[in-house]
């Protein structure tokens, strides 16, 4: 269970590229590649072994030449294969075929060569076990949590609590993620104006009485960037040893989709509707993670749910900080408020990263580094089209948003190059 697996972005391959095919060891050792390019609906994609949990090719083989190991990988015993082609006919994925004997992918023993060879990011080999290995407790959150269907903040809170562990006290403000009564951990429901100061007071007392616990706020962007920004900035300046996780759904969603200073420019919300006088939110997005990094927070990071290994790494770093404030800014799509499909939450996160709308970086010891490199950014339109809050966008709106993204990325890159300027 939790086996390594290949993610394929079908339909993105250029017609004339076959880098993956050429890199396949089955081909480089003189035979035919186990990976193929195939055309479907006018677009090019990949065909390879699915690595089925209950593969139909195995029972289809008359000579028992196909065997599945404990990792789920099916391999061909060459001496037994008679090249009958039963496996090829039974496979629904076009993942095994006969070239004298049966040829199929075996993930190169755990490090598939095709992935690195692909210049377009079509192939991604993911190790889910590494994600679940970060969990230090069972999910303490109630199984029936009344957050919207598909809410990424719900996914986030379950993930966060499992990584942070049982010695955690959660603090919240009135918001979507009001965990009180729904988690097997202590919680404190604060006001928006005092969550950071309450957390400071609790942590100071816990330290004084030698009680070990992570004091963690799971706080929305409304509180973090607007009404609770002053106390958060104050707590950062004082170096309070608390962890502030801002789940940024880019608006006041709990009260019915109103703009916050984290709402992106030209986005629709109930308080920035579209009309002859308005193209949505007219102001830029306040970028709190960089503001707090400049203030000298001990650790600052941006994270999201499509990159859980990166998120877990950052949570663990925040956990380990014994002095000063840790801040994680979590990009959390809201299907209800962003008018996106409830099943596309994680996909939206991924596209936000891949279009540079939401770059993933961290700052520790006054050094800013990008933790996920984006080599060929996807066009912004691919991201925007998933959410109807941008459905009014014309070329001008797109240019404005693209410009903001480019400017911010350039600025962040400057901090990478000049670490001494990154913090006061």
């Amino acid at each position: 269970m939790y086996r390594d697996t290949m993610f394929i972005k079908q339909g993105l391959c250029p017609e004339d590229c076959h880098a993956c095919v050429d890199a396949c060891p089955h081909k480089t050792s003189g035979g035919l590649a186990a990976i193929k390019k195939v055309q479907k609906d006018g677009k090019w994609g990949i065909a390879m072994c699915n690595h089925c949990g209950e593969p139909v090719c195995v029972p289809a083989c008359p000579t028992d030449a196909l065997t599945q190991n404990d990792n789920g990988i099916v391999t061909v015993t060459q001496d037994l294969c008679i090249g009958c082609g039963n496996c090829e006919r039974s496979c629904p994925y076009d993942g095994i075929y006969v070239d004298d004997i049966a040829v199929k992918c075996d993930y190169c023993g755990g490090d598939p060569k095709c992935v690195a060879a692909c210049p377009y990011g079509v192939l991604r080999f993911a190790k889910s076990k590494e994600i679940v290995d970060n969990f230090v407790m069972e999910d303490p959150v109630s199984p029936g949590l009344p957050l919207c269907s598909g809410c990424t903040a719900e996914l986030a809170i379950r993930f966060v609590s499992r990584v942070l562990g049982p010695k955690t006290i959660f603090f919240g403000a009135p918001s979507c993620c009001n965990l009180g009564g729904a988690v097997k951990l202590p919680t404190y429901g604060c006001l928006m104006t005092d969550v950071s100061s309450i957390m400071s007071g609790v942590k100071r007392y816990l330290n004084r009485t030698h009680q070990e616990a992570h004091v963690v706020g799971f706080i929305g962007d409304g509180t973090t960037t607007d009404v609770g920004f002053q106390p958060l900035s104050g707590a950062t300046e004082r170096g309070e040893n608390i962890i502030h996780i801002c789940y940024d759904n880019e608006g006041y969603m709990n009260t019915g989709i109103q703009r916050s200073s984290s709402t992106p420019p030209h986005a629709w919300t109930q308080t920035t509707p579209i009309g002859p006088m308005s193209r949505g939110k007219s102001r830029p997005q306040k970028y709190v993670p960089l503001l707090l990094a400049l203030q000298g927070a001990a650790y600052v990071a941006t994270a999201t749910l499509s990159h859980l290994d990166d998120f877990a790494m950052k949570l663990k770093k925040a956990k380990s900080i014994k002095s000063g404030l840790s801040y994680i800014h979590l990009f959390c799509p809201c299907p209800t408020g962003w008018r996106s499909a409830e099943d596309k939450g994680v996909e939206i996160c991924r596209l936000a990263v891949e279009t540079n709308f939401f770059p993933l970086w961290e700052m520790e010891n006054e050094q800013l580094t990008f933790t996920v490199e984006v080599n060929n950014p996807r066009p912004l339109a691919d991201y925007l089209q998933l959410m109807r809050r941008f459905s009014h966008f014309d070329q001008d709106d797109l240019d404005v948003l693209q410009n903001e993204i480019d400017r911010r990325l350039t600025l962040l890159k400057r901090f990478v190059d000049e670490p001494s300027r990154a913090c006061l």
Binding site: P166, A182, C190, S197, I198, K203, A213, G234
Partner: protein
């Protein structure tokens, strides 16, 4: 001396010297507490609430605009029944730049559910703070306490104060750890200030009621606490109302804060001249000492309220307004309101003599055009 665990400090006139002194004591190693130099009074209240919820003893201080800035925290703190003790140095709230003394700021927090004690002298400030912890931390009370004293008249003038020994204070205080109350701490799954039943009207009413009854218990607990205090420190203040020469008085002044000192001087002067007058200083403003005042004012001819605040919408001072609740049970008692101390105006002996003259007239049956007299407006 009270050995708080966590203190939040932020400057605001006329409380600033307090913040500075605490910081100095801390820097010199004279006391061991977590000192949090917050970025605003809202965070002062927030950080002491957090520390108190985690089980600690806390302290902070503020005045007028700072008190207003923590208004949401005040309601939250008392609603969660946290035994925080705070000092408020009273100051005008009418204008931004006005730093003058009045009780207007604490009148704005009457409905926040805090116990309000007002001191007449510097000694009483010290003593009241010690008593405040006993009140706040009493398991049958668990309501935060604000000890108030007049800006400038008490905050910036010097008086001799007897500082108790630490041993005496230790004898007076109960150990914090023994307190039977909820704490937010790792390992227990307490959901503090949260419940899916937050919108259950009956349950909310129940919490209101419990809070209200807890405040009422101050009336019975404070005299006992004062007895204990007197036994250890040799001082007491008369409980909720400090009554001075009121028993056989025909005329009684009702006031709060340091003005009472001046009134007591005039009371003595008048008594020398054969006028039967006394003064009742409201020491505990919340819970309001209804019964004590009723007993005290029964059968008097005239009552004069010396005010340092005025209630908007009632066109009178707050002490007059709140005591008026008892009017139907005080037949024949004439009330006159003297709004003397707005804007830090000095409540001088002459002002009290003038008020006494009016009260003597009223006591002998004279009718007044208005029973609410604003100093400086005549």
């Amino acid at each position: 001396m009270a050995r708080p665990d966590v203190i939040a400090v932020y400057p605001i006139t006329p409380q600033t010297p307090l913040a500075e002194l605490l910081s100095k004591f801390y820097a010199q190693g004279q006391f061991d507490a977590e000192l949090i130099e917050v970025e605003g009074e809202n965070s002062s209240m927030g950080s002491v609430m957090g520390a108190s919820a985690a089980g600690g003893r806390t302290f902070t201080a503020t005045s007028s605009w700072g008190l207003a800035f923590m208004h949401d925290g005040l309601m939250f703190c008392s609603g969660m029944r946290l035994p925080v003790v705070m000092v408020n140095v009273t100051r005008e709230t009418t204008f931004m730049r006005g730093v003058l003394s009045s009780r207007q700021d604490i009148m704005g927090m009457r409905d926040t559910g805090w116990i309000q004690i007002e001191a007449e002298t510097c000694q009483e400030i010290l003593d009241s703070i010690l008593m405040a912890y006993r009140l706040a931390e009493d398991t049958d009370i668990l309501v935060p306490v604000v000890v108030c004293y007049d800006g400038y008249y008490l905050s910036h003038l010097s008086e001799r104060v007897d500082i108790p020994d630490q041993e005496q204070v230790n004898e007076f205080f109960k150990p914090l750890a023994d307190m039977n109350r909820l704490r937010i701490e790792p390992g227990t799954n307490l959901q503090f200030a949260v419940s899916p039943l937050a919108n259950d009207g009956e349950l909310v009413a129940e919490y209101h009621y419990k809070h209200s009854q807890a405040m009422e218990r101050v009336k019975s607990k404070l005299p006992d606490i004062e007895k204990e205090f007197h036994a250890i420190f040799g001082r007491s203040y008369g409980g909720l109302v400090d009554a001075y020469r009121t028993d056989d008085a025909d005329i009684v002044f009702v006031t709060a804060g340091s003005a009472a000192g001046t009134v007591k001087v005039i009371v003595d002067e008048a008594r020398e001249a054969g006028v039967k007058v006394g003064v009742a200083r409201i020491r505990v403003f919340r819970p309001f000492p209804k019964q004590e005042l009723l007993t005290l004012l029964q059968g008097k001819k005239a009552v004069g309220f010396i005010e340092r605040s005025a209630c908007f919408g009632w066109d009178c001072g707050h002490l007059y307004m709140e005591t008026s609740v008892l009017r139907h049970q005080l037949p024949g008692v004439e009330f006159v309101d003297f709004i003397e101390g707005l804007g830090g105006m000095d409540i001088s002996k002459d002002r009290i003599r003038r008020a006494l003259a009016v009260l003597k007239d009223v006591a002998s049956g004279q009718k007044l055009e208005s029973h609410v007299l604003w100093a400086g407006i005549e």
